[in-house]
Amino acid sequence: MSEQEPLLSVRGIIKRFGRAQVLTDIDLDLYPGEIHALVGENGAGKSTLTKIVSGLYPPDGGQIILEGKPITVPSPAAAQHMGIALIHQEPLSFPDLDVAENIFIGRQQRRGIAIDWAKMYTEAQRLLDDLGVAIDPRRRVRGLSIADQQMVEMASALSLNARMLIMDEPTAALTPSEVADLFIIMRRLRDQGTSILFISHRLEEVFEIADKISVLRDGEMVGQVQPAASSREEIVRMMVGRPLSALFEKEQMAEFGEPRLEVRNLTTRGLFYDISFQVRSGEILCLAGLVGARRTEVARAIFGIDPPSSGEIWIDGRRVQVPNPKIAVQLGMAYVPEDRQKHGLLLPMRIDQNMTLPVLQEVSRLGWLNTSMEGQLARDWQGKLDIRMRGPDQSAWELSGGNQQKVVLSKWLLTGPKILILDEPTRGVDIGAKAEVHHLMSELAHQGIAILMISSELPEVLAMSDRILVMREGHMMGEFSRDEATQEKVMAAAVGQIQLEA
């Protein structure tokens, strides 16, 4: 479109984390005076790419070129001085300092060696006026809304004469009117010649504001389109258009049993609204969606960690109250959380002690733990789930991701659950262990357990689910049976595009 030189180009960027290749040969040109949207599924590599350009990660290969000259970006501060600024989704601010200092910290205006506060306030006021926002530069940042904190970060970037703004999902935490305000400012900056790289999961926003759209999938650049010459359907197809790999498929059952878990109009104000579904014995129901769909929040509500503000939970046809996780366990539920290192395991603790945490009553006599029984249980489950470990006395943190996940699973299976909630059960797990976890899930379903799985990985969703429920920003967007679900349909619902002719 433009004959201009690009402001910033990346060529052949490669990034690996351990053995996983997260970015492969990424090329991207960003021109002055344009808003360039970067879209893709969770884990497609968008954030990694922005972190490389803004100096948070070094690339493992490839070049970054600023105005025709190859550069290295050793740190975020260096990036800022080159005019590249990253606006974070959750702004990184100093809550106890005032707005002006948050804008200028580290380079406050001085007269001699003394900071010239009066001048700093004047300058801050001017920057905020330029942005068209009414924020008092003298007030403390604590208590400002996320939108206002973003504006403070923007003002900070502008004070450095940033020519390139990288905005990582800036709209995720904003209200619609705040998004509208942000877009007005983004357009004005673009018209002044700033180059903006905009990341968003909301396709309607992307089409509203972007001049170009680049699509990432599984760490590769799939293509670039002009919004006017494209459609949301095309973008969705580009985002998910991968051949389905040969993942383990759930064994089909002829007949599901009775509804085990049912929720009706589950709502927690400000988080999610009117969630209703049922999971039958032997069935795997998947909650699909993108980051910010609030699926984990629903799971936590069901399990009593953050009880919902309204709605009903039914188990085996009986209405129940689940005020806390202890009751949830008594009702036959088990919840394997997403971040097993943070919520699922006590990493320094021995494997057997980790496993028996939910069933301490059963492995103790008169209040004293029977440690040989703990060890025996651990060895039993080691065999059942094929956990690679030296012995029950090993610390949990010594295990690989997949084996840690198996320990968490056995911990909850020890409680003999009827309902199993799995939150991203294979995240960060290598491909072999992934197949084993999938196999195990299928087996558990076969034994009559009702499984509610949360997964952001479309191939996994399609391979393992009997039914798929798609959520977006706290609302149910659609429900698909195993036969009718395709990657395109699920993704279209997840980005808020319900009608899609397949």
């Binding site: 200092e101 910290i105 208590g143």
Partner: protein
């Protein structure tokens, strides 16, 4: 995380921190006024120039050390070795005077500051380079420095006739009848206050304590800032050590600065410095020192048993922090 984002979105722009800071300083002043009135009613001797001079002398050393501690705590760290540092500098400088009679006191002051800076640098290095948690690092040096006090002195105290009369006079005379120690404390407080308010390094201390991750991303050398706050705290403890020798005319290894770190931290926290870092002022710390000084004096002069002094000090700390928490919660929930 999301729920927090939502509530923050709907919040009115209230300014909890500002209100708290203002409340804290006026709060202490009111408390002080009440104390003074009660003390005067109970004991006439309290309200006299001589007694006020005593109070100021008592708190001068406290205020100097607390100024350094305030910087450390604002940066989201803590230094519990300051009492031992004070003791070590007092004894070393005392011994220096003993074996080199006639050395000008300025040399002693300089030596104290230098030695204190070295002791502070050790703390800073442990925390920033060896990543020892601040409480543990300075717990270790608290003990090591105290050990050095005994080793260097052989357990013997430095006697009044070993300490130069000029140094002892610093606690007695000065311009306008104000003892030099008080002048030095005032000067240090003003300087540190200006430093924290008007220099890049001073503001960086707040930034590092308020949000270390963001500070690093903004290009602030977090380790450098933390190291320097420990160095400053040590240097001020060293200066205070020399003044201690002058004020008390003797340095006893078994009690010079022993347990002083607790009083120092108390003054800082009562003065409104957030123990979790990111906020605090020297004015607050000076008022906190004053409050503790007046409290101690009132109890002593009204012949309340010395045993009650620690007890009262503890009550004041808890009271200050609890009132803070109550106000903070109310401001939060009123949104």
């Amino acid at each position: 995380m999301t729920s927090q984002a939502q509530t923050m979105n709907t919040s009115r722009p209230s300014n909890v921190a500002t209100i708290l800071a203002k409340f804290r300083e006026t709060g202490i002043l009111i408390f002080l006024a009440v104390l003074v009135i009660i003390a005067t009613l109970v004991e006439r001797r309290f309200f006299s120039l001589h007694n006020f001079e005593n109070i100021l002398l008592d708190i001068s050393i406290l205020a100097i050390v607390a100024a350094g501690e305030t910087m450390v705590i604002i940066s989201r760290n803590i230094d519990i070795s300051v009492g031992s540092s004070l003791g070590l500098c007092a004894i070393v400088v005392g011994l220096m005077f003993k074996f080199n009679p006639g050395v000008p006191i300025i040399v002693g002051l300089f030596l104290g500051v230098l030695l204190g800076a070295v002791l502070g640098s050790v703390n800073g290095t442990l925390v920033t380079q060896f990543r020892v948690p601040p409480l543990i690092a300075t717990l270790g040096t608290l003990s090591i420095y105290r050990g050095l006090v005994f080793l260097s002195s052989g357990g013997r105290q430095v006697d009044p006739n070993d300490i130069p009369p000029d140094l002892i006079a610093m606690a007695r005379v000065g311009p306008l009848g104000i003892p030099w120690i008080v002048i030095v404390a005032l000067l240090i407080s003003v300087l540190v206050g200006l430093f924290l308010r008007y220099t890049h390094l001073g503001r960086d201390i707040y930034a590092v304590g308020g949000n270390p991750v963001a500070a690093r991303l903004r290009g602030i050398g977090v380790n450098r800032v933390v190291f320097l706050t420990y160095l400053f705290a040590g240097a001020l403890a060293g200066l205070a050590g020399v003044l201690y020798a002058g004020r008390y005319g003797t340095v006893n290894p078994a009690d010079a600065g022993v347990g002083f770190e607790l009083t120092v931290i108390a003054a800082t926290v009562i003065g409104g410095t957030n123990i979790l870092g990111g906020s605090g002022t020297i004015l607050g710390t000076v008022l906190g020192s004053l409050l503790l000084g007046v409290l101690g004096n009132v109890l002593a002069i009204t012949n309340v048993s010395g045993f009650y002094q620690k007890f009262a000090q503890g009550l004041v700390i808890l009271l200050a922090v609890i009132i803070d928490a109550i106000i903070h919660n109310q401001l939060q929930s009123r949104r």
